[in-house]
């Protein structure tokens, strides 16, 4: 007869961090599906590569750090990081980009800072930025939507391109990216930006083939997919509503103000919402609790700051998309935000705190 000693509370809502992570991973499925539908196998291959690398890296580091491997390896955080990285890489980027990015994310950004819960930066985004800065050529090899491609690439072709740089038929990435009409295509954001520098109005650039019917062929659907996943997470209370809401409204307000001021040189609010990695960022990256702010007020500030940064970088920065940079900057600001958004404890006067 043994008495079982436990600390109160003896009850628990039975939520688990790993379950939370799994939930987030599942929620990326609609977006990934849209990616696959419009851009082919490229990202799926990258995701697989990244997850495998992350797993190996996590295992190695955890055993080196003498941690509980089983619980921590399967807490899902490494997988989620890898998935997010895989999603954000250009579909036809070479394989080693993924490997390097994944290793960097897990080993340097996450584990060197102390593992889950201690990393100040979002590992996926930090890796993405590192890759973008180190390998700008490979990292801008954006593949146009399949429908716009001159040739039809299958799984085997994609694999071959990723691992060798050429399709079995001998086409290079550059050739693949070429439009039927013979010009190289970029992402909608790139297109708009380039056009604007060339003196076109936004309206004119909206007619570009990459943009398609709405805000960017394929991209709008990918964003919609992630939005769907995000809403699912919200409904499951796996993520808090504050960050996505404040981020999206901030982005909306910024672009709206700019649009009002100069409609010709500013893209519409919806364009900003549904191109690039906006939705992915709003629901899957900024909501990463570890590197974000904790309190409700803090999260609101955090999201709003991210929205502003995204808009500014998109509008004035040299890089096509801004989510990764904005997220890293906000990560840096998070501790400060937390510091100044401490709630007033029950029974304490507001001024007496801090």
């Amino acid at each position: 007869m043994a008495f079982w000693i436990a600390s109160s509370p003896h009850n628990h809502q039975q939520s688990e961090t790993s379950a939370l992570m799994r939930m987030v991973i599942y929620a990326t499925i609609p977006g990934i599906f849209a990616q696959w539908y419009f851009f082919g196998w490229g990202n799926l291959i990258h995701i697989a590569l990244a997850v495998a690398t992350a797993f190996v890296a996590e295992f190695t580091v955890l055993s080196l750090r003498k941690k509980k491997i089983t619980t921590q390896l399967f807490d899902g955080s490494a997988i989620l990081t890898a998935v997010l990285l895989g999603i954000s890489l250009p579909a036809l980027a070479p394989w080693w980009i993924t490997i390097i990015g994944s290793l960097f994310a897990i080993v340097v950004v996450k584990q060197l800072y102390g593992g889950l819960g201690h990393n100040p930066f979002n590992p996926a985004m930090a890796a993405y930025v590192m890759l973008l800065i180190s390998f700008p050529v490979q990292m801008t090899l954006w593949q146009p939507p399949l429908s716009l491609l001159a040739m039809d690439i299958q799984l085997a072709d994609t694999l071959s391109v990723i691992f060798t740089g050429y399709t079995p038929q001998g086409y290079s990435v550059e050739q693949i990216r070429t439009h039927i009409d013979g010009f190289t295509m970029a992402t909608p954001l790139d297109t708009v930006k380039t056009n604007l520098t060339q003196g076109f109005t936004v309206l004119e650039s909206m007619k570009a083939p990459t943009i398609g019917k709405y805000f960017g062929l394929g991209w709008e659907w990918i964003n919609a997919g992630f939005l769907l996943g995000g809403l699912f997470l919200l409904s499951k209370k796996s993520i808090h509503w504050t960050t996505p809401v404040s981020f999206l409204s901030s982005l909306f307000i910024c672009s709206f103000i700019a649009f009002i001021i100069s409609p010709d040189s500013s893209a519409s609010t919806m364009f900003h919402w549904f191109t690039g990695a906006t939705m992915l960022g709003a629901f899957f990256i900024l909501t990463d609790p570890v590197s974000g702010a904790t309190s409700v007020k803090g999260r609101l500030i955090f999201g709003a700051l991210a929205g502003l940064l995204v808009y500014l970088i998109r509008k004035f920065g040299g890089y096509p998309d801004a989510i990764a940079f904005a997220v890293l900057l906000c990560n840096m600001a998070a501790p400060l935000i937390d510091q100044y958004t401490r709630p007033r404890t029950y029974g304490h006067k507001l001024g007496a705190k801090k």
Partner: protein, 806 residues
Amino acid sequence: MESVIERIQKGNFWQFHGGIHPPEQKFLTCTKPIASAQIPEQLIIPIRQHIGQAGDLIVSVGDKVLKGQILSVGDNPMSLPIHAPTSGTVTAIKLMAIPHPSGLRETCLILTPDGEDTWQQRHICPDFQLLSKGKILEKIVNAGIAGMGGAGFPTQVKVSTLAKIEYLIINAAECEPYITADDLLIQEHSPTILDGIKILDHLLAPQNILIGIEDNKAKAIETLQKATADIDHIQVCVIPTKYPSGGEKQLIKILTGQEVPSGVLPSSLGMVMQNVATCFAIADAVINDTPLIKRVVTVSGQALDKPQNVWALIGTPVGYLTEQCGYSNSHDKHLIMGGPMMGFSLANDQIPVIKTTNCILAPSEIEIASPFSSTSSKEVECIRCGQCADVCPAQLLPQELQWSAKAKDQPQLEKLNLFDCIECGACAYVCPSQIPLVHYYRVAKAEIRQQKLLDIKAEKAKVRFEARKLRLEREKIAREEKHKKAAEARKARMNAGTPAAKSEKSAVAAALARVKAKKAQAGSNQDIVSQADSSVEQIDDNKSQVANAIARAKAKKLAQKSQTPISTADAEQDTDNAAIAPKAQPVVTDKKAKVAAAIAKAKKRQATEQASNSDTQVLSTEETTPVSATSGAVQEPITDEKSQLPINKKAKVAAAIAKAKARAKAKKETDGNINAQPSSTSTDKPTVVPAQEQYTLAAVASNKATVTLHTETPVAISPVNKTATASDERKKKVAAAIAKAKAKKLVEKTQQASPSTSEVKISESDSKPTTEAAIAANKKARVAAAIAKAKAKKLAASSDKSQPSE
């Protein structure tokens, strides 16, 4: 703005931050009636069952007690008595595990019931209105009533508040899952509870009475509403179910919208909160004179066959209750005292029910898979999800508290208001990383308390240390001051060394004079003896004259001689003395000089005829000036000359003294001779005695027995003055005795003087000579004494001789 009451009547309540909705599980017990109390084989009654101090036991092992009998008495407001829950025998008083998260052991009284359940004499008081407030309070104290909701705060402390009470809040929220004890108590005993509320109303006279009850207790609400329908100022407030709305601070926030400031009691806001079970106990105590000896306990959990509420006697072991309710699980027992959120697991089932025990939980294994057990922690790192902060009713930041607790950062913990944590467990309940947050806080709180105790101790030690340091410092300063003064004094003395030496020298001169005088005396004695042979009467006259003459002559010689030894350093011993004495007796010399002067003066007065006034005056002035001029730097060459003067004079004075004395004696003798010449002894001896006395005086003077001189001189002189009547024999003896005594005193003096010199800190080489000098002085004194004795003998002999000749 609408008033609180209006809002309440509309059912609009405030909200506290956070809160959770754990599975309630109240259905297990809420429909079954409360089972009546059973008497177990043994009751374990801890002497302390509340917050505060234990009372002193007034029974001892072997005593028979009756039901309701008081077992301990307290002497301060925070101590409460305990009572015998049934009649029986006290079989032991020992340390036993008490209900405490840490399995703490405290003194418990073991009562073996006799099964009779015999009540002690009770005084039923059907109308409490007849009792004074003081009497009611006394009854509440004597019944040992403490808050029965959980904390166990002594009730009378709460209800005897002097603050003006706006709201009396009756806490019937019972927000913890599983627990239905209050619910059932209301359902079954609402009249008694209402009595209790009325008593409190009577005591506190609140403007409003609010009964806070969660909306999941439909029957109880109905009962309460019915019971209070005709009382205007009682509001039954049905609040939404949310954990932990039953927390004192949370309930106050819900009902009144006010927050109790951190660290103060609600009474400062004009509020008092009492649990329903406490109200019941108050009514029972005041009306039925029944102390708090039983309470309703929810025994629940899916591991029980018959989960139900039971009346349990205080002291009933938990195992007895679970057995009563059909606890089938024989291995891996998990018993929780209290609810699943704030209760604590028990280390064994022999832990007793106490005044604050509202629930015993025996969950099945799947029912409560506590992630915080000692064996199966699934804790992973905090992912900063912030869910804990979202649910914390105290609006703390549990995740930050947790980091600081792990890092043992106590200042940060206090900054984060750790002590405002009510340990409700909401944060740990929601934490996806399954961190036992509350456990960390408990440990951190204990550590901080410990640290504070240590700090207080350290502070005390520091104060003590500082005081000691200060004292040592003071002592050091004082010592330094002393050293400085001593050094200054020494310096001054060194500078004034010559005058001191001078006086020493004069002392030396006196010593020389004495030596000479001795010689002279010896001569004169012979003369006297020889003259006495021929004619006594003549001799009498002559002797004195002769003595005078001799003395004068000797004195003169002495004066001359005394100059020479000093200038030529003839007498080695004396110069030694002169050299050393000033060091050995620096203080004494000064006195001595004065004494000498005084003596001289006294003598002079006696010797008015012959002693020259100028001489003594010169002596006194000359002697005193160098002394008074010690502070001034007197140069050696000058003083050398001067020093000779006093010596000269002293010698003269000595001579004068001798003369004067001799004359005085001679006169007296003659007087005595004329008045009554009974025997020749009386004529002979007096002449010698003064001489002797002179010697002793001289010896004394030279040996610087200054203090004694003051006292001795009159003694020595007075007999001289009264010689005529005093017997000569006695005088001789006295003289001898005085001489001896003086010698002794001198010995002492010199001995004393030598340590004093070492204090003055002349180097060691100096102290040696001083002791030598002391020894020398000692010797001299002895010699003087011996001489005196010898002379006395001689005198006796001579007088003997002269007697037959007469």
